[in-house]
Symmetry: C2
Subunit: 205 residues, 2 copies
Amino acid sequence: MLKEGLKLVISGPSGSGKGTIVKELIKSENFKLSVSATTRAPREGEKNGVHYFFKSREAFEKMIVEGELLEYAAFCENYYGTPKVFIEECVRAGKDIILEIEVQGAKQIKAIYPDAIFIFVVPPTLKELEKRLVGRNTETKEVIQKRLERAKEELSLYKEYDYIIINDNIEQAAKYIQEIVRIEKLKSHRFQEAISTLVNNQGGI
Amino acid sequence: MLKEGLKLVISGPSGSGKGTIVKELIKSENFKLSVSATTRAPREGEKNGVHYFFKSREAFEKMIVEGELLEYAAFCENYYGTPKVFIEECVRAGKDIILEIEVQGAKQIKAIYPDAIFIFVVPPTLKELEKRLVGRNTETKEVIQKRLERAKEELSLYKEYDYIIINDNIEQAAKYIQEIVRIEKLKSHRFQEAISTLVNNQGGI
């Protein structure tokens, strides 16, 4: 039964730790990470279809025109986008696919995949968020202050999500997401076929 | 945060094993079982407020008139019913309360408690259901046949429930229900206060 995989949108402010949680999750074979398409050249060791789908500018623009991308953006003169076909093939193959998305992009995805599960990763405190941003050692004080302000704004969008994960422990956060997936698969709308088999053929679920 | 407990309605056809699952669940202190009110006399060892709330006929009829019962029925010249106040006190005290209800009664409860979680316990096969009903050794073949027919009808009501639990293993079924409770508490609508604390006071969630 329950053949279709789930689409999991994992989002949260910068510094919430969503990327680390995703890395933890994809250690399990049940999860697949959505692979982006890009027009930039492959770097050493990068494999087509694993790290990115590498496309020519013409091929990428054709994907845009034909509505094959869930979302896309231009960055440093290259395109980056999320091909729908990869997601949909994974789901049909029964894999749960993870889309790690910035807060601003999540709404766009809800319009296209209303059946996706939206998970919002939240830091335990703003102090902790600040600590993580400072710890990265990559941004100036000013940038960090801006990110904190933006995080506050983004946090107020929590209602757009189905579930909230307070990330004070990566393993626990990943465990919660695994449970969400298990429990979402017990939702009654997924049992139409199973119940009808049970009732009509006296077969097993 | 997350102070309020959940109301769990556990239902399923006769022989689905819902009663055994409930017994397994209430071994945990987090769960409280809803206590019914009745006009019948206490049997030896039965304690008021534990096994039943023992009421006079007048007191029970007053509860009916004043809308204090979630549902009630008369059986062998006595009344049996579910007092709302007990459920609501438990929930306010942060306990998750279990209502074990026949399939026909569950709909009635949804109208009063739309925020309750509705769980439908289902046998793995009709053959297994039959085996369990026969194993009880309390009913005639005819009664068992009627129960099977009724189970088929009841199974077709699965869509009225939030979650389906296939009961081929009591411990696993109870574990799923515990996970449902844990995951339901991560639903975003329960985080209003927590997020506002996080954003406004820089406090912890």
